[in-house]
Amino acid sequence: MIASRADWLLALPVLIPLIACALSAALRGRPLAQRAVTATAAAAMLVSAAALVVEVLGRGVIASQMGDWPAPFGITMVADLFAAAMVAITALMYAATAAYAPSDAGMRAEEGLWHPLLAALVLGVAGAFLAGDLFNLYVWFEVMLIASFGLLVLGGGRAQLDAAVKYAVLNLVATTVFLIAVGLAYGLTGTLNLADMARRMPEVPNQGAAAAVAFLLLAAFGAKAAVFPLFFWLPASYHTAIAPVAAIFAGLLTKVGVYAMIRLVTLVFPAGQDWMAPLLWAVAAGTMVVGVLGAAAHWDIRRILSFHIISQIGYMIVGLAVATPLAIAGAVLYIVHHIIVKANLFLVAGAIRRAGGSFSLAELGGLWRRDPWLGILFAVPALSLAGLPPLSGFWAKLFVVKSSFDAGWYVLAAVALATGILTLYSMLKIWIEAFWKEPPEGAVTVALAGRERWLLLGPVAVLALITLGIGLWVEPFAAYALAAGEQLTNRDAYIAAVLGARP
């Protein structure tokens, strides 16, 4: 069979970074050529992801059987609105961090490894978003994991080794739990294809074992997503990575875990597991509260931002716990908003470090007087993170909080709102300390100027404009998220697209 357009659209987001990874690894030692490869790959991926979104908007869920083995036996790649949006945002992150990275101070000696590892990370992430079966999801997780190990120790600082040990061990335990769950799920249903598993899971006679599988999978994905009792690897490691690495980690990695949780719960276990909603309720509340309190205790920009990743994950889990179409749409919108904003904040943190010489709030000061644009470019994602209108975070929070009010989950909505206030506190803390306060004695100051300034702040400005754009012109994004929510809560289209119209 000749590959159709849908086949190509589903394969390209994986093929492009794969080729870029191989090429840039071969071109090690020639940074200009590597940069050209990465820039071309990022542009190509943006175009192919945009085409994928358009295709999915036009035709609904599309699926492709790689190697033309019929589902459920072959390798299936699927894209619905949610997956297509995630691939598009991955491509955007690829482009933004690739544009920022060459001018980052920590990057200079490491560029030869950065380009192939970044491409490998994007490969794993895009593959995980498009995977249509559970074992392939596991393999993509591992691709992502090994690339992230390499990226985390890039720069070779001693603190990074310490961080990498904790990151590696805890993540390996989580993926092994995932693998055990994959084996058990296969034993119960006789299939690994997610759509096929969705049909067969309710017919499994031993529903207790099905619940155990669901719990193991949720625990494994939850560890990836850094939810409340399983988040300890994140604050132990993220703050040590160099700025562009921290940005791509903060943007993408945990969200793959959330994506997998949403996919699993909406597709394979949409109903019939009555322990799941209370569990997700507790996890969501705990994640929000612990994350935001951890951030409040810290005085290092990157540590504060790392803890805020955790607290923001909680909002997405709120959407998943409530699980109405509006709530799922809120989770989708939240993920998209959060990836842009969080990666942007880590990029700004890198620029602050360059201009002020430190990540520690005590050693910073007076940045507003010296560089108001840096301040504005920090303020936009920071206020968006806290959920102030008219920025993207406001709409994402509105969806999530409204859906939990509609469902009668008032306590959870209250926790979400209180977390928003504490988020604002953390952001104001950075603002007052780094931008307003008089700089301390002996503070290092570097005037960001010329080419370096454009290269560092250019990607930041583009991401800030996107945040502002989503906030001011929210209609198409909200409509897209609502359509994605409808599609996720009504799984028949997904199953039909993968397995054909068979009964």
């Binding site: 990074q160 904790k166 061990v169 092994t176 084996g183 058990l184 520690s360 005590a362 050693e363």
Partner: protein
């Protein structure tokens, strides 16, 4: 056979948990290896240990002969073994680099990426604690 595999799975899992909690990175790595092997056993067991006949479809037949083994779990386990091999190699190199940099393999003593005096309500003390060496 499945009972035996299940018991072995439990044994490996218990040993892995014990080793993962040890205060020594080499033991933790061995724990990760055992955990990976426990996972592989669980896949083999979950795929039904049905027979030893090679899973080849006879000429003219449409399905596998009775008593044929299930090839899929073996393919899965093969993939998982390769992945776990690569990741373990990385972690071993990481442990070696940590040993060279820090002179210790006790995870409790590895605190370079941790803020020593937190949580703290005192701004100066907290900032002091977070300044990198």
């Amino acid at each position: 056979m499945e009972l035996l595999l299940a018991l072995l799975f439990g044994l490996l899992l218990a040993a892995a948990c014990y080793l993962l909690l040890a205060r020594s990175l080499p033991r933790v790595i061995i724990g990760l290896l055992l955990l990976g092997n426990a996972a592989n056993l669980s896949i083999i067991a979950a795929g039904r240990v049905s027979g030893t006949v090679p899973p080849l479809v006879e000429r003219g037949a449409q399905a596998l002969a009775a008593g044929a083994s299930n090839p899929l779990p073996q393919a899965l386990v093969l993939t998982a073994i390769v992945i776990s091999f690569g990741l373990t190699a990385f972690v071993m190199v990481l442990a070696w680099a940590t040993w060279r940099a820090e002179g210790t393999l006790d995870p409790e003593a590895l605190r370079r990426a941790e803020p020593p005096a937190l949580p703290s309500t005192d701004k100066e003390a907290a900032a002091e604690a977070e300044t990198r060496p």
